[in-house]
């Protein structure tokens, strides 16, 4: 299994631990990754111009196509964005013609053959639950995790084809492999609030608080996310903007970090320290 790793703009500077931890975890699972020079997935520009969004997304698909590699995204917004552009271009011949002519100027082409996967879909469908289980060396005991699904991977389901949009299970199944117990929480499928960050901070934080309260209510120990933006919202933004005491802060772990710990990888390899909210409590459950 070989993929072109699409780590997304945010993981380069703001969330390097997602990229580094995913790389060690995936290589232990014999998923080969190649780093190509992708550009922005287009998601941040969707509100401004659909054409700009399509061009950026299509260029990424073309770059991967050029190498004959499927894309593996870490970020769910990147995943949704690439999926959406792929779907849209395939169903809108006029737009496709326009975008392809622009790509041709750079010596690229869009044939629509690039497969787009998210780290969770690769784990569940390509590596397989049995394949992951073989690598699990330390199981968590008594750790309760609130899995956060992330909107842009889950919906619109006819385009993203991620999992059942109303009753998804993929995240819970991966978490169960680590010995941790996924909790059922009321805001499981809701947005993290990040799309409004720096646009309408009050609303953005309001939604974040609802999420955290819901996870606490379900007596989870931490949230687990699989998206650059969601993790930023739960970790860095919660810590810096919600102005809570450190005892009140509710940690969030990345799926790659959670899986890596139970695979016996070191905290250093998984860059646990880079998380803004202290995660060291997780040691007690191993």
């Amino acid at each position: 299994m070989k993929y072109a790793l699409f780590s997304g703009c945010k993981s380069a500077f703001y969330l390097p631990q997602y990229r580094t931890s995913s790389k060690v975890v995936l290589s232990s699972l014999e998923v080969e990754l190649e780093e190509l020079e992708f550009n922005c997935c287009g998601y941040p520009l969707r509100s401004k111009s659909q054409d700009a969004f399509l061009l950026l997304a299509a260029k990424n698909l073309a770059i991967a196509e050029n190498q004959g590699l499927p894309i593996l995204t870490l970020c769910q917004c990147c995943f949704g964005s690439l999926k959406h552009a792929d779907h849209y271009l395939k169903n809108t011949p006029k737009k496709r013609e326009m975008i392809v002519s622009l790509l041709k100027e750079e010596g690229l082409d869009f044939k629509g053959t690039t497969k787009i996967e998210h780290i969770l879909t690769v784990l569940a469908n390509q590596v397989g639950y049995a394949g992951i289980e073989k690598q699990i060396t330390k199981k968590f005991k008594g750790l309760k995790i609130a899995p956060h699904y992330g909107c842009h991977a889950l919906r619109p389901s006819n385009i993203t084809e991620f999992d059942n949009p109303h009753a998804p299970t993929i995240f819970e199944q991966v978490i169960r492999l680590t010995g941790a117990e996924p909790v059922e929480w009321s805001k499981r499928l809701e947005c993290c609030g990040n799309p409004l960050w720096e646009k309408n901070d009050e609303l953005s934080l309001g939604i974040l608080e609802q999420k955290i309260d819901s996870a606490k209510e379900a007596s989870a120990d931490m949230i687990c996310s699989a998206c650059n933006y969601c993790q930023l919202q739960f970790d860095e933004i919660q810590k810096t903007a919600l102005k809570k005491t450190s005892a009140e802060q509710f940690p969030s772990i990345l799926i790659s970090q959670l899986l890596g710990l139970s695979m016996g990888l070191s905290e250093k390899d998984l860059n646990i320290e880079a998380n803004h909210i202290d995660l060291s409590g997780i040691r007690n459950f191993l």
Partner: protein, 555 residues
């Protein structure tokens, strides 16, 4: 005399310019928090941190490593692009070599080498090698800027002026050397000054110098015989050879002098060599005086920036030093275009023809802004729009060959723009909608225009938007919307999703466009996923936002 006066003027301008720049490093404030730091505070913080670098062995090691690997060898550039590295090394080594052994010969070469003469090998040969290196480097520089579409877009007058100044210095240097090789007057002057030859001896020396050194004696009959050559060689050995290597060793200038021979009579009579000498030293002095105000300043600033990056990376702790670094970084940019060529959002330029999307252009814009030059509102607006297309992916900072922390500059300049009410255009649009909705409109609402505006006609423009007509107002979208769920006062969001769909069915797209809900939408797609009629609500919102953006900013 003229030489000395010109040099003094040029050096004075250079010195004042450099002082002005150094002053600027501690004065220019980028970022809202930096305004409160005083000049003195920034200087003292910088000096105390500088002291630590020399005291702390770890930091000192990093400094030394960075000097060798990053400043001199330019490893970062070598990794990225070999051709560009050659360009840099050719110009850098060639020019520095010429400055040291040639321009500063009185102060460096002569005291260092007891047998130094500019016309003696290895110095003469070396001068030609270095000069040719610079010219090769300049040719690569021009080629690069001409060939790459994106580089051509961002290349401007200062980039070409820098190339032209260097090219004039180099070419005039070679022409000067060539004109001296053929020069009769210089030959005569040298003979008068350094020898006491009778006419016969002089004529044999002329034979020898014509044949072996390429001097041209127009209107004189020089009879070349074996005997004259041999005698000329003896005289040459006695009087000349200790200071003159054969002209052919000046392997670049000599062929030029051969080309000049047919016109040598005129050139020698006009004293072309003196004319070229003026051009050569004046162009050097112009370059010197212009340096602090041009992109050539990077000769001084870029190494500092590279070293700062080598020691501290992107983590400078003291806010005063961060402010100083930003000011320095702005001046360290060489406009090489690496950031722009790898920028993660640069392709968007094809959709929004705004050069401020490119990081290297934003550097120029930021330089203008920070120097207090008031830009016209349109330029300011374009700068803001370009800035907010950036996704802060940090790739520019990672790749910058001179170690500029561009990421930090973008973060701070965006904060400043937001304070100046020129923040993210989407936020601006949302806030203007908010004002509209907080004051109930007294206008009459026109219902169902018979002919909706063509560009706003969702039926025409969109694949999926037509789906809104399937809406039967069951309100599933609104009840599943997390934003509606958070809202106590419905006026604050304008309209709820189902109302927006309803107004679209009525042809009231203007009402939909004015609704703040558009900009408060999380794009979580819950409405769209849950809609029993398959209305693509979130995608319709995206389209309406695009229309608003188009109308407000590109219309």
């Amino acid at each position: 005399m003229i030489f000395k006066i010109c040099f003094s003027i040029a050096f004075a301008i250079f010195a004042v310019g450099i002082l002005y720049r150094v002053f600027g490093f501690f004065q220019v404030a980028i970022g809202p928090e930096t305004k409160s730091f005083s000049f003195l505070k920034r200087v003292t913080t910088f000096l105390s941190s500088l002291l630590i670098v020399f005291v702390n062995p770890v930091q000192f090691f990093r400094l030394c490593k960075s000097i060798v690997l990053d400043v001199v060898l330019q490893i970062q550039l070598l990794r990225q692009n070999f051709i560009k590295w050659c360009m840099h090394i050719f110009i850098y080594c060639g020019f520095m070599g010429l400055v040291l052994i040639h321009a500063l010969e009185d102060y460096i070469s002569e005291p260092l080498f007891s047998d130094y003469y500019s016309t003696l090998n290895p110095f003469m040969l070396l001068r030609n090698v270095l000069g040719v290196m610079v010219i090769l480097g300049l040719i690569i520089a021009i080629q690069r800027r001409k060939k790459n579409i994106q580089l051509r877009l961002i290349s401007k007058r200062p980039d070409y002026i820098a190339i032209v100044v260097l090219a004039v210095i180099m070419i005039s240097g070679f022409l000067l050397e060539a004109s001296k090789i053929i020069s009769t007057p210089i030959f005569d002057e040298m003979v008068d000054e350094w020898s006491s030859l009778d006419d016969d001896e002089l004529s044999t020396l002329k034979v020898y110098w014509q044949e072996e050194y390429g001097v041209v004696f127009p209107n004189q009959t020089i009879e070349v015989t074996q005997a004259a050559l041999e005698e000329g060689e003896e005289i040459n050995d006695e009087y000349c050879a200790s200071c003159h290597s054969k002209a052919v060793w000046a392997f670049a200038s000599y062929p030029i002098s051969v080309g000049m021979r047919p016109m040598a009579g005129l050139f020698n009579a006009w004293r072309l060599d003196i004319f070229l000498w003026y051009i050569h030293f004046l162009s050097c002095f112009i370059g010197l005086a212009y340096l602090p105000f041009s992109k050539l300043l990077h000769i001084i600033t870029s190494p500092i920036s590279i070293l700062v990056n080598g020691i501290a990376g992107q983590n400078i702790k003291k806010p005063e030093n961060r402010a100083t670094r930003r000011a320095l970084d702005l001046q360290a940019c060489t406009q090489c275009g690496t950031c722009t060529l790898h920028c993660s959002v640069a392709p968007v330029y094809k959709m929004f023809p705004n050069t401020y999307i490119f990081p290297s252009e934003k550097m120029l814009g930021l330089k203008d802004r920070s120097s207090g030059v008031a830009s016209d509102p349109e330029t300011a607006q374009r700068f803001s729009q370009g800035s907010f297309i950036c996704t802060n992916c940090n790739r520019c900072s990672e790749l910058c060959p001179v170690g500029i922390n561009l990421q930090d500059l973008w973060i701070e300049s965006k904060k400043e723009l937001a304070l100046e009410k020129m923040g993210d255009p989407c936020v601006h649009l949302r806030n203007t909608k908010e004002e509209k909705w907080s004051q109930p409109s007294k206008e009459k609402i026109t219902i169902a225009k018979p002919k909706p505006k063509k560009e706003l006609d969702l039926w025409e423009s969109s694949m999926k938007a037509g789906s809104f007509s399937l809406c039967y107002k069951c309100m599933t979208c609104t009840t599943s919307c997390p934003i509606v769920g958070m809202t106590e006062n419905y006026d604050s969001i304008g309209m709820a999703p189902h109302q927006i769909m309803h107004s679209l069915s009525l042809g009231l797209i203007d009402r939909a466009m004015d609704s703040r809900m558009m900009w408060d939408c999380l794009t979580c797609y819950k409405c769209q996923e849950n809609c029993p009629q398959g209305v693509q609500i979130t995608d319709i919102f995206y389209e309406i936002k695009n229309m608003i953006f188009e109308k407000e900013y590109n219309g």
